[in-house]
Amino acid sequence: MVSTSSTSHEDVYAGSSETRDARADRVFTVSGQDWDEIASGLKDENDGDGGDAYERIVVNMGPQHPSTHGVLRLILELEGETVTEARCGIGYLHTGIEKNMEYRSWVQGTTFCTRMDYLSPFFNEMTYALGVERLLGIEDGPDGVPEKAQVMRVLLMELNRISSHLVCIATGGMEIGALTVMTIGFRERELVLDLFELITGLRMNHAFIRPGGVAQDLPVGALEEIRGFVALMKKRLPEYAALCNANPIFKARLEGVGHLDLEGCLALGLTGPVLRSTGYPWDLRKTSPYSGYETYDFDVQTWDTSDSYGRFRVRLNEMWESLKIIEQAADRLARMEGEPVMIADKKIAWPSQLAIGSDGMGNSLDHIRTIMGESMEALIHHFKLVTEGFRVPPGQAYVPVESPRGELGAHVVSDGGTRPFRAHFRDPSFNNLQAMGVMSEGSMIADVIVAIASIDPVMGGVDR
């Protein structure tokens, strides 16, 4: 399984055109083996001068490497342990979700797009739902999405921001060897997932935010759970600060690593914590508020070091801001008991009335009794909306939201049909990953890992 091929055999991975000078048309494909043996083997072939051992060394890292944050493939050219050139290979998780959405109704689209960036499902659903709502013209106003649905969306998104940032910090910590950060990160994330499960019924991939509102009302006791969670998080979050903020090892690994200043961020289209770590307070929740974010009291967190440590601190501080928003949203929800969570327009609103039955969540028996026994029209209506779905007027919309990783937007195109004509997601991970080369060229291999962890790409979002 060790193959040290030289000139004699042709290498399929590197055509002869790749290397040009007389003696260098040899490519060594190595997987495993001891480095000394390889190097000494080279010496023999080169009459003892060790020549080619000092040539370009290109190392493939991934797509199955525990430190590359998913199925990301890094192509690194090394000189010693210094990275002289770095490129990404992506597409190993390309799922064709955008194409699949074109064959499902507009509402079913949420079920697909929630699986794109699997660490921030609510944001995927949100930007898609906002795009569809803009095309339908039901974004706001008395006939639009009801107030309670908007507050619930904000609540869920901010909870999601916390869980996403926790995973970012956890996996980032794991990748640099801080396993304790990983275990406590996943411990806190479980708390958020328990809340998600209580509210939506699922731990991940919720498909809860639908065009027109949200799938169902808050369950009984959810607000108490949320308040308990906020109180607990206020005790737990300082642990991260105590563990990391001034930890000399942690700082030594992160400070000054993955540097990208404001000009670089804008040229490469980076948004989110990476942009805010340069000190520029750009946050779509403030600059183009959606879902009523302008009515919440929170601050945009920035840092001024433009490095991985700054991004870590921005994320940590953003979790505190999210807690603030969650508290405000919970207070509002407490005053909104019994209000509708789906648009009043029965031509758009998903007709089912969900309830917990003996076999889990499903259509409530009362609702089934009504449509099956009393109202033929309601049954027809239910059937048409569920099988055919509603039609969306032709046009295109792009309503970005501030996801935990930056600007996430869905370019939604309708041709007036019951299915999306095209839904393209501008995922921040996809865009931000372009900066990997700029951030890591000239640094050590270990710093590449830190730089990538500070971008926090989620490959489900990158490849979609």
Partner: protein
Amino acid sequence: MTDEKKVDGPAEAVEQPAVEQSPENVPAPTGEVRKIGERHGMFGVTGTGDTSGYGGLVAPVVYPAATERPYGGWFDIVADGLDPLIESVVIHRGEITFHIAPDNLVAAAKLLRDDPSLRFELCAGVSGVHYPGDTGRELHAVYSFLSMTYNRRIRVEVSVPDADPHLPSLCGVYPAVDWHEREAFDMFGLVFDGHPALTRILMPDDWPGHPQRKDYPLGGIPVEYKGGTIPPPDQRRSYS
């Protein structure tokens, strides 16, 4: 987000009568709509033995028509800045779309980035859309630009025919579109001339075809279960 701030733009945007432009560039006046496709029947799939008579329905697919001046608010400022390069302008649901000819794209992008009255610092990306019914301009590349200075967002749409899917790359102006252009090439076959390394990005290198075009099948397999076979979603009888 109607930012009414008056900015020093190019003193007088050169007024250019429509006749000076090539005929196909004359913007459609408001009210006149362009049909770019047809919808047949009630269901997306034919040959299902639908005898209801609805299968014969033909409805045009009509997209929002071009808008005429004044556009209102800051839309006019941006339109003034880009004026000679614009093919037509569509305002729909509060979002402005500038249709620009492929030849003018780089000039427009440079203007958008550098003009002090425009200052679109960020290009959020390219999204390919394939309209098989839009004869002569089947492939659209849709750019989203964001001006952080003025907090404005516009959309620029470039259309090219299927037979000659070439348009200039914006990589030199906005390096951010590097991967986005590769994705549009991979998925739609749009060729961005001048891109430093226009290769497939998501699909394997040897993949035939461009999967997200409308003439590329979804590629699913029939699902079998105990004698029952369900065709993949694109071959099922379904609404459209």
